[in-house]
Amino acid sequence: MSPSSHGWRINESGALNGARVRNVSTLGEAAAAVSPDREIHLALPCDAALLARMRFPATDPGELGGMVRLQLEKTLPYAAEEITSDFDIIESTARESVLVAAAVSTERLNAICQPLRDSERLPAKVTLFVMHVAAACPRDKTVFLVYMEGGKVVTAICEKAKPVCVHAMASAATVRDALPQLLMSAELEGLPTDFSLVLLDKACAQLEKPLSEFFGTPVELFSPDSSAPSAPRADLMPATWRKERLRLSRSASVKKRFLLAGAIYASLLVLAGLYLAVMEVRVNALERKLEAIRPQLAFVQARQNRWNALSPAFDPQRFTVELLYQINASLPSESVRMTSFQESGAGAEIAIDSEAPTASLAIKFGELLKANAALARFKFDATTPHFLPDEHAQIGITGKL
């Protein structure tokens, strides 16, 4: 998000001037227009910050950072904790570095970004838009830059594609009159004023002739929308915002996990419901099949019942003589004999008493009866053998269908 000539501009592709550019009137609208999964890079209008060209006898970035902060504390009417600052190196030799420092009041930053904070869309990076515009200038030229930003006309002196002196003016009409004073101040500050190129925003095309006459150099028209600036190094994101952003990110991650867990839970419930529904359908389908086959079954069962009821009268396996034959065939030896046989219910129940010389033979008779395949339809129970006066063992066996 960056300031446009009269409002805010959203570059969705990631680069400031990418394929999808939209213009909105407020930052709140811009926040609502960006999808929640996209990171926001906010480029501030130049009047939100202070830019200063500085020269330090050091080249180490860490060391330079400390020097910049110290210098800003001396020059700015704010306490160190009330400002956020960063710098971008213009040129560096073995002994010294020339840089442009940017500083912004945290209070001012909070006020500008309140619409983003309200919608919990804190930016991932905060820069100055003028640094992006300057980055599009040729590095080997000192460029005087004029463009529209938020209804104001911004003039900037760019050295090696870095803005070293920036002013915002109320209207284009005031630019021509302010130029001599502006250049004099720049010269006094030791800034380069020998411009080899003037870049003018197409939105201020009426200034082309005056600027050309004033500088005596060619004036090229450009559109800040169509330049291709690289992201400047200077990041004005306050440390408290970083923490808040981390907290919001964690909160979003937890929310996402909860949503995922909820989706999985709901899916499991749906699957369980589907499983039960499928089971129900299977049971019902089987019930319908059973209903369809039941008349046939009644037919078969009626005939089966009749057959079974009459079988004692025609089935040789159920005849008394066959029962006696099978019982006799199960006697373990000739010394074991059946002393009584009772049959009732047309062969449905039988009771046998037998005598054997030993208890083991009596028990064996019972076991042989149970093992007899022809009598397998009976469930046999045998009593414990008891001994007769002649020391023979007597056993009673009952069998039921």
């Binding site: 037919f299 025609f314 006696l324 009772q342 047309a346």
Partner: protein
């Protein structure tokens, strides 16, 4: 809802989260119990119906067999001539067979006429005295598939004095086809 949560203190949020968690847990327990109970009932229902289906299929596949058997019964089961004479005729038949096999018939009685859905009969009760071999031959001759004679009850005992001799009491009936009713 969001505003309400934002108005809560940290402690209130924790308490609300715990209460929500407990409610969610109980709701889950209730749901799981419901699902598992329903699933067990359906599984049991499905199993019993599958067993019934397998049994029915077997029976259904035997329809032709049972039709043939029914036709055989229709053809072979004797038809009753006279209720009054049924018992007498059976007794005469039994006596003749017993005499042939050297089995003594004692105390014969003719029982009350029986009617069941599958047969009608006038059972007789006789006592017998014979050798084991004679009795076996007598019983073998008495019951053949074509006669439809059933021994409804039997009580056999060896003679305590002579183990080769058998005493028996039999209830014998000829199972006639039931009379056709309108």
């Amino acid at each position: 809802m969001k505003e309400m949560i934002q108005k809560m203190t940290s402690r209130e949020r924790w308490l609300a989260a715990i209460v929500a968690g407990v409610v969610f847990l109980f709701l889950n327990l209730f749901l799981l119990k419901l699902i598992f109970t329903k699933e067990a009932a359906l599984q049991s229902d499905l199993r019993s119906k599958q067993l019934a289906w397998a049994a029915l299929e077997t029976l259904s596949s035997q329809k032709e067999l049972w039709t043939k058997r029914d036709a055989w019964l229709q053809e072979k089961q004797p038809v009753l001539g006279s209720k009054e004479m049924a018992g007498v005729e059976l007794l005469e038949q039994v006596r003749a067979l017993a005499k042939k096999q050297d089995v003594a018939i004692l105390n014969p009685t003719i029982g009350a006429f029986e009617e069941t859905p599958f047969y009608e009969a006038a059972p007789i009760t006789v006592e017998t005295k014979s050798s084991w071999a004679s009795l076996i031959r007598f019983l073998g001759a008495l019951q053949t598939p074509d006669y439809f004679v059933a021994i409804e009850s039997a009580d056999l005992k060896t003679d305590p004095e002579d183990v080769t001799a058998m005493h028996g009491t039999f209830t014998i009936a000829k199972w006639y086809a039931p009379a056709l009713t309108d």
